[in-house]
Structures are given as C-alpha cells and as structure tokens.
C-alpha cells in the first residue's frame, strides 16, 4: 500500500484527465452530496459529514479538511452508467411510413468515478449482471462500464442507515476497483492510504506523488475500517431470507407497511441497483419528427403493471411487496445475488422512514407459513 498526501490529490485528478477521463465525483449541493463533474480538488465537499436517520438526511459542515467525510448521498453511479433519460432513436416521417435517423455518433463518455463506496462497487457489479449478464446486453451500458475507471473510497465510518456488513459489500473495497483510498484526516495528518487494484490503477499512481506506506499508517487505516464495520448502525439477517419472504407472501406486515408507504418511488430512484425503466414517445408539432426515450421508472407507479385487463398490482401493499421481494428474494433467482447492497439510501430518503431492515426483521419474527411456500 502507498500513501498519497492530500496536497498531491490534484495530481490524481490531473492523471485521470491526462487519460481523457471525465472525472465524476462528490459535490455538496442543495444540502446534500450529489455526483457531478470534478475539475479540481476544490470542487470536492471539504468538511462535509452526513447525518442519516430513517427519513432524514443532514449535511453537517465541520472545520476539518476531509473530502470524503460524508458516506453516501441520494445519487449513485447508475446516473452515469444507466442515465435517467436516454434517447433510443429519432425517426422522421417519410410518406406513409418513417425512417430511423441515425444520430451523429456520440462516443459514449469515458468516466473516472471518484469516491465509489464499497457498497457501490457491489451495486455496479449487480448492474453488470442486469445489463450485461444474460441473453441481451445494453450496448451503451457495456461501453460506458468497460471504459470507466473506478477510484474507490473506503468508509472509515458508517452512516446512520448503513448495513453493508450484513450484505457483505463493505466497508472496505476488496475488488473491482482501479485504486481504493482510505482517507486519514486526524491529528494534523491528511493523507490517503491507497490500494492498487489494477494495471490502470498502477499506471495512474505513477503520475501522482506518493510514497510507500509505513506499517503503522496501514494499521491505522485498517483499524478505522474495522471500527467502522463494528459500528454499523443497522443489520439485515440474510440467512434464509428469500424463502422466508416467499413463505410470508400474505403476511399482515404488508398491510401495515402499506398504511405508511406513500408509493412515492423515492426508494427506487435512490437505490443503486433498481433498474426499471419505461419509454416515452414524442413528436414535434409538425409530426414530422419523432423520438423514443428511455427513462427510469418505478414499480410503485400506478400504471407500471397495466395490461389490457387493467393493473395487476392495484394496491400500495402489493407494490411495496413486489419491491422488497424483488430486492431480497427474487433477485437471487434472477441474478444469483441479493439486489440489496446495504447502502441504506431507501431508508434515508423514504419520506416516512420505512426501514427495509426492520420490515424484514419483523416478518422474520412473526413468520407465518403459507400454503404458497
């Protein structure tokens, strides 16, 4: 492991830009951490610490110099890998028909993702299995992902709704990164303990002033990460969870959660693995030009399951159940892993603070065996 001093952090950004990366990283905006283009280290959220509780998020500013003092904001990397709105094609009217207009080829952007949390690496791996793991691949996702450089940041403290330890995704990144940083900002020291995860990471590192890490520096970083792991505020018992939920398809808890859930779709928008989308067809006023767009959708929306015979899931009860069972049960059948990485966003950004870990635990403690099992 090596050390990069905070004063040399801008060199890391330069090394990325030199390789034609558009650097995306955390910025403090509108009282939260958002993801956007980073031009220099001064864009990063210095001294910002997030306080998260069910249904609550505060960004607290402190005097310290830490740039990764926050944990996770509402946005995740799916915003770039799988954009909220994407034009699928344009068409123009031709006689009785139409023809597809090939848009001037816009090369898919080459991103360096700066500040990818270990749970988010877990989420990106899940995104990979959704968009590039089966019979079909999403060409844009695949090319963006293939070109992306991942600079991970380990979590030296958990936020109030984190449970990555339960989901086996954090708080330390173990794979699928180019560089992984542990920020140490204490007692007048401000540096990053760096793990190299790939040849690309090694080559980037060579452009940045660094030195070998001392044994005590590595130990301090590992100490912080194990303290962070031990201090997880939440946990989710995953043992047998898919079967448990399947056995409790008619559990009264679904009614109870429906009384609280607003079906607002916030949880699905902030979830780094939720991938549902819909399409919009638009034309200009003349009708001579049409476009087809894909945009994020949510299984909580009213017409999500609409077919000729009507909506399949008519109640909030069945929509919440679909969301949670997809995430924690069906995902295993579909993609071989849980759909949850323990980032806690759905808990934080739920306006009424519904906590997926509490819901699952409650069902576990009051499990009914149904004939549907």
């Amino acid at each position: 492991m090596v050390i990069i001093g905070f004063t040399h952090f801008d060199e890391l950004l330069s090394a990325l830009r030199k390789r034609d990366y558009t650097v995306i990283g955390p910025v403090a905006r509108d009282g939260a951490i958002a993801l956007d283009v980073i031009l220099s280290a001064s864009d990063l959220p210095k001294g910002c610490h997030d306080e998260q509780q069910p249904g609550s998020y505060f960004l607290r500013h402190e005097e310290d110099e830490a740039i990764f003092g926050y944990v996770v904001g509402p946005q995740s990397w799916k915003k770039y890998l799988y954009p909220p709105r994407l034009k699928l094609f344009s068409a123009k009217r031709e006689g009785k028909g139409f023809e597809i207009v090939s848009d001037s080829a816009t090369p898919s952007p080459k991103y360096a993702f700066l500040g990818v949390r270990p749970c988010e690496i877990g989420a990106i791996k899940i995104n990979d299995s959704v968009f590039d793991g089966g019979q079909y691949s999403d060409a844009r996702y695949v090319s963006t992902r293939k070109d992306a450089c991942v600079i991970a940041v380990n979590c030296t403290r958990p936020a109030g709704n984190c449970f990555c330890v339960s989901m086996n995704t954090g708080p330390r990144a173990t794979h699928a990164f180019d560089l992984a940083l542990t920020e140490i900002c204490e007692n007048g020291t401000h540096h990053f303990v760096v793990d190299v995860g790939s040849e690309l990471g090694q080559s980037i590192l060579e452009d940045v002033t660094h030195r070998q890490a001392e044994k005590n520096e590595i130990e301090r970083a590992l100490d912080l990460l194990s303290t962070s792991a031990a201090g997880m505020c939440k946990s989710l018992e995953t043992e047998g969870l898919p079967q448990l939920l399947n056995d409790n398809y008619e559990h009264p808890e679904w009614d109870d959660v429906a009384k609280r859930c607003l079906a607002c779709a916030n949880c699905t928008m902030v979830c780094p693995t939720c991938f549902c989308s819909t399409v919009d067809d638009i034309t200009d006023l003349t009708g001579d030009h049409a476009e087809r767009w894909r945009r994020w959708d949510s299984c909580f929306t009213s017409d999500f399951t609409k077919i000729a015979g009507g909506n399949i899931r008519m109640s909030t009860r069945t929509r919440y159940r679909q969301w949670m069972m997809h995430k924690l049960a069906h995902w295993h059948d579909q993609f071989g892993t849980s759909g949850c990485v323990g980032c806690g966003r759905c808990i934080t950004w739920c306006p009424v603070g519904i906590d997926i870990t509490h819901e699952a635990q409650h069902i576990r403690e009051t499990s009914i065996s149904t004939i549907n099992s």
Binding site: F98, S277, D281, I307
Partner: protein, 286 residues
Amino acid sequence: MKDELANRSLPMSDAMMTYPVTIRKVIWENDDTFTLTLDMNGTLGEFSFLPGQFNMLYVYGIGEAAISISSDPSRTGTLDHTIHRVGTVTTALSQKKRGDVIGVRGPYGSSWPLDVAQKRDVCVITGGIGLAPLRPVIYSLLKKRDEYGRIIILYGGRSPLDLLYRVELERWEDAKNVEVLVTVDRGDSSWKGHIGVVTSLLSYIKLDSRNTIAYVCGPEIMMKYTIDELERRGLPLDRVYLSMERNMKCAVGFCGHCQYGPTFICKDGPVFPLPRIRPLLDRKEL
C-alpha cells in the same frame, strides 16, 4: 430453450432498435380484433421465429406494444399479428392501412416446445385472443401431421361474432384426426354449438392423460380453471404449457415491467412449463 433462441434475427447491441416494415394486408377478425400481415422482405433480412414468440410493434410517434406472432413459422416473407384493439398503441395500429409502415423488432421470448409433443396427443386449450399465439403451433402440427397423435383444439369466445379465424377453424376440423370444439359465452340465433366456458368442452373429449401434451393460452382466470380441470383428469403437470401476459416496455429483460415473481415474462416466458410457475398462479397481484 436458450438454444432455440439462437435464431434471433436482430443484432444484440440494437436490442431496442425498431425496423420499418410495410403492412401488406389488414383483416378484421371481429369488431375489435384485426390481423396485420407485415412484409418482412427488406431491412430485417431473413426473419424466423418459433411458435409462441412475440414481436414489439412500433407506431411512429405513438409507442410500442408486445404482440404474438400468429402466422405459420414456415412461411417466409410475411408475418401475421392478430391484435386486440384496447390501448393507445393497438388503437393506432388498428388505424393502419395496407401500404402503411410500422416498426418491428423481435422475435422475443420462449416458444411452445413441439419436440415434447412428438408421437403424443396434443390438446390446445384457448380463450379469446389466446388463439393467436397458438395458431403457429397448429400450423406446425398440421404440417407434420403424422408425427403427432390426436390433435384436439378447444376454443372459447365471447360470442359467435367474436370468434377468430372462423374459416380456418373449419379447415382444421377437416384435417386428419383433428377435433375442433368451440364454445361461446353467449350464443345468437344462428349459433348451434356449445355455450359455456372453455373448460366445459373437456367433458366432450376423451383425454388420454398418460399421453397428452396441453398448450394453454387465454385470460389468467381461464388458464387457472383449465389447469385445475386438467389436474383432475390426471394430466401430469409437466406436460402442460401456458403463455403469460404482463406489461412490457423492452422485451429483453431490462425494463422490469413484466416481472412475475422470480421470472421475467419477456425472456423466461411468455411460454412456461406449468411446474415452473404453478405456485405463482395462486398469488394475487403478483
């Protein structure tokens, strides 16, 4: 079933790209159901599909709908889609005329497995528009008539005027060792056939439960009662196949809309062996 899908005609990277094709013929089957014959010579090159697969049909500026292919898989050059006019896209499709152009992409999804029916009796049980995705099966069975045992087609419609493919139903009945039984929910003065739900037709046939493959497609409630009835008659569940319907936006497993418990109807279905989804059928609002 994955190997069968190797005949997919579209490049994978363009999974969401539609291809303009010309409508060669429009046939109104009843008041609100029509069949579009599409000219597939051109941009799509060699287009082949398996019985039970579907296409995404696109109306310029309006949207897409998932529609089963209802023509003979061995016919080249054209494709039929029988469409129930019910939503925005299908209404727009219903206004199309011969010579108009729509978009098509596909074929998608699983198919009715015909290999398992070799040397066995085949019982096709369908209601309403459910006959459309089964018509390619009937064509395929009749084309190699000697490879199968009895062919029994049980079909239920709302009223005599709602029945699809009436001329063909009579033609199929004339084929060797084929029984076609049709029932309607309510008859009219000209109707001399059966009245009642499609499951009631099962009492008019002798089902060899040890040697029959059943293909079932229709409204979910109809399929549920049909399965109960087949179970009662001792047909092993793994010889029953059914085709499911859900909302679909992408047809390739990315949009999430068609999830049915652990399955995606678009890529795991729409045709399922019954044991795979039997427990799901009892789940309301799944």
